[in-house]
Amino acid sequence: MMKVAIQGIGLLAPGLAGWETGRAVLAGHGSFQPGEMPDPEAALLPPNERRRSSDCVRWAVQVAQEAIAQSGLDPREVPTVFASSGGEMGVLDTLCRTLATPERVISPTLFHQSVHNTPSGYWGIATTCQQSSTALSCYDDSFAAGLLEAVTFVHVEQRPLLLVAYDLAVPAPLNEARPIAAGFAVALVLAPLSDAALATMQLHLTETDQEPASHLQDLALEQVRLGNPAARSLPLLKALATGGSERVIVSLLESQQLLLDIDSCRH
């Protein structure tokens, strides 16, 4: 059994631009209006890096910087975990189009941006952080796998960690293989238990599958949850927005579940 503190939250999705906005919507204090796709500034990126950066990088850095700012921690001291089902699908689309031409002349910049740890690399460049950084995937359960890796790290190493989960809209024709229509990015700063917590979270990994995974009553938000792997975080975010104590269940593959007991701290 592992219990950690949540010290910072970042969120970005259509209609959920930033944790303050998102928290109000998820707590039922405002209606969910998806509207336009956000175009995050990711102000932490140096201008020349931002110019070359992919959408994934800007979305991931945007939520990461929001969560880190809330935590008050120095990003150079915080290891990271980045979770995404498919990573740089937009970059891969461009590369595969080029590789289907007779010349196959691909851009060196685009090539090194095609790796799954591209946002991790840019976060490191933006913050000059030299801590451990892992990038992982578990298809639709990438958020759950990232959360498991993150909580486990905090538990065994007894130090804070930044988790970022993101998946962006997949461009045509690749969306025929992986239909993700809208982007979603979330970041959590997790830490050993302390007074500075927004909430505590106890994680229990279970193989039983008796209860279904938590879902959202709001049909539009439930569609978001089902439509993007990173949005599988929404029931957890809703519990954090609502406050109080709640158990959230997140699926990890068909065989396992994460039972998350959330307890909001009132100061």
């Binding site: 592992m2 150079r76 290891p79 995404s84 089902s85 498919g86 891969l92 590369l95 595969c96 590789l99 289907a100 196959r104 002349v105 691909i106 851009s107 060196p108 090539f111 090194h112 941006q113 095609s114 790796v115 799954h116 740890n117 591209t118 991790s120 690399g121 840019y122 490191g124 460049i125 000059t128 952080c129 030299q130 801590q131 451990s132 950084s133 892992t134 990038a135 992982l136 995937s137 578990c138 298809y139 796998a145 498991l148 890796e149 486990t152 790290f153 538990h155 065994v156 190493e157 007894q158 130090r159 024709p173 025929e176 293989a177 992986r178 193989e207 990890l252 593959l253 065989s255 396992q256």
Partner: protein, 404 residues
């Protein structure tokens, strides 16, 4: 980070296996190391016309995954399947599954490009409307998606514990050892299958060519005239269990690991090797060892100008010129996301066989390198080996293996 790093309980490599261009299983790899026979040949992959050498695994084109594994069929998973069949690995996993239960065995795999070759082929087969073929779209999840390899290995081995794929470019299948250790220490599993598979594809061949990092001949790590890397492909796996549960005198174990990033550039290493030094330092701290305890360093040694000189700075600053150092990429090529497990298994073989491979294809060691770079094989008892892996995004991992 070292101040916070505590020694870990060693993890026994109960079983391990490797398939590279040198052959299937650890036997052919060992023979190639001893006989100093490279697996690198002039590039004959598909219709690629680049002037370079590759470490291609023979026979991947000649079979396909059948029956219930058909949906996973792609070059990367065929290579994974070949790897699982070698060295009695499936039997060892079945025994662990018997001991602990399918839910208590984790699968942590590393890859950088997964089954991207399928997507490359599918883009070449788009119809006039620009749509992708149905044979591809229905199987994307099982072939190209980054988790495909983890899913495939879990299905092949009949396991139901935590599973994930780590994808941090070249450091992927070194970092799987760290993730597995955390899962084991937290009590979320009793055993872990770690490993990695990366296979040849157009993206990496033309990508490294675009970066002007491909050698025109077989790569020459640490050579004064080295001119770049040779790409290879490999599948490797290891079964990890706590040495408190499974311990056999002389068995190979993971003693420590260190993970870091450069925070510097996406494709150039930090000029002073700052991230690499952090990774090595943390690996030593977790192993509870001093630099002088390390007898052999298996270098990342890609044979690019930048990697070998920056890695040399880091290794020399940590170890001085005392331990023997070499790169084994002249045998296998750079197997990218599989490099971590490839070189971990080679390090395990060095420990069990008392072999230190001299750097293949290195005719004259670059006089600017200060570490003790070995050119010829040496034999003699070994007890502690360090293996370095560095990747794009400035992602570093150092492993320390030793004998119990």
């Amino acid at each position: 980070m070292s101040a916070n790093v505590q020694p870990i309980t060693p993890l026994t490599l109960t079983a391990y296996t490797l398939v590279t261009a040198n052959g299937r299983g650890v036997g052919p790899v060992l023979q190639a190391l001893r006989g100093r026979r490279s697996g690198l040949k002039p590039c004959d992959f598909e219709d690629v016309t680049l002037k370079t050498y590759i470490g291609r695994v023979e026979g991947l084109e000649d079979f396909s995954l059948g029956n219930e594994l058909e949906r996973f069929d792609c070059r990367n998973n065929r290579l994974a399947w070949l790897g699982l069949q070698q060295d009695g690995f499936m039997v060892a996993v079945a025994e662990a599954k018997q001991r602990y239960g399918a839910h208590r065995v984790a699968v942590v795999m590393g890859t950088s490009t997964s089954g991207i070759l399928e997507t490359e082929h599918a883009y070449q087969a788009r119809d006039l409307a620009g749509s992708l073929p149905a044979w591809y779209t229905s199987r994307y999840r099982y072939t190209h998606n980054m988790f495909s390899l983890g899913h495939f290995v879990q299905v092949c081995l009949g396991l139901r514990g935590p599973a994930m794929v780590v994808s941090t470019a070249c450091s992927s299948s070194a970092k799987v050892f760290a993730t597995a250790d955390r899962l084991l220490r937290a009590g979320l599993c009793d055993a872990a299958i770690v490993g990695g598979v990366d296979s040849l594809c157009l993206t990496t061949l033309y990508g490294f060519s675009a970066l002007q990092l491909l050698s025109t001949g077989p790569c020459r790590p640490c050579d004064e005239d080295r001119d770049g890397l040779s790409l290879g492909e490999a599948a490797g796996f290891a079964l990890l269990e706590s040495s408190e549960r499974v311990s056999r005198r002389g068995a190979v174990a993971l003693l420590g690991y260190g993970e870091s990033t450069d925070g510097y550039h996406m494709s150039h290493p930090h000029p002073e090797g700052a991230g690499a030094i952090r990774a090595i330092r943390d690996a030593l701290a977790r192993a509870g060892l001093r630099p002088e305890d390390i007898e052999y360093v298996n270098l990342h040694g890609t044979a690019t100008k930048a990697n070998d000189s920056v890695e040399d700075k880091a290794v020399y600053s940590m170890f001085g010129a005392r331990p023997a150092c070499s790169s084994t990429k002249g045998w296998t090529g750079h197997t990218l996301g599989a490099a971590g497990i490839t070189e971990a298994v080679i390090s395990a073989l060095c420990l069990t066989e008392g072999l230190i491979p001299g750097t293949l294809n290195c005719a004259r060691v670059d006089p600017w390198l200060k570490s003790r770079i070995l050119r010829e094989n040496q034999s003699g008892s070994l007890s502690c080996v360090a293996s370095n892996i560095f990747g794009f995004g400035g992602n570093n991992c150092s492993l320390i293996l030793g004998k119990l």
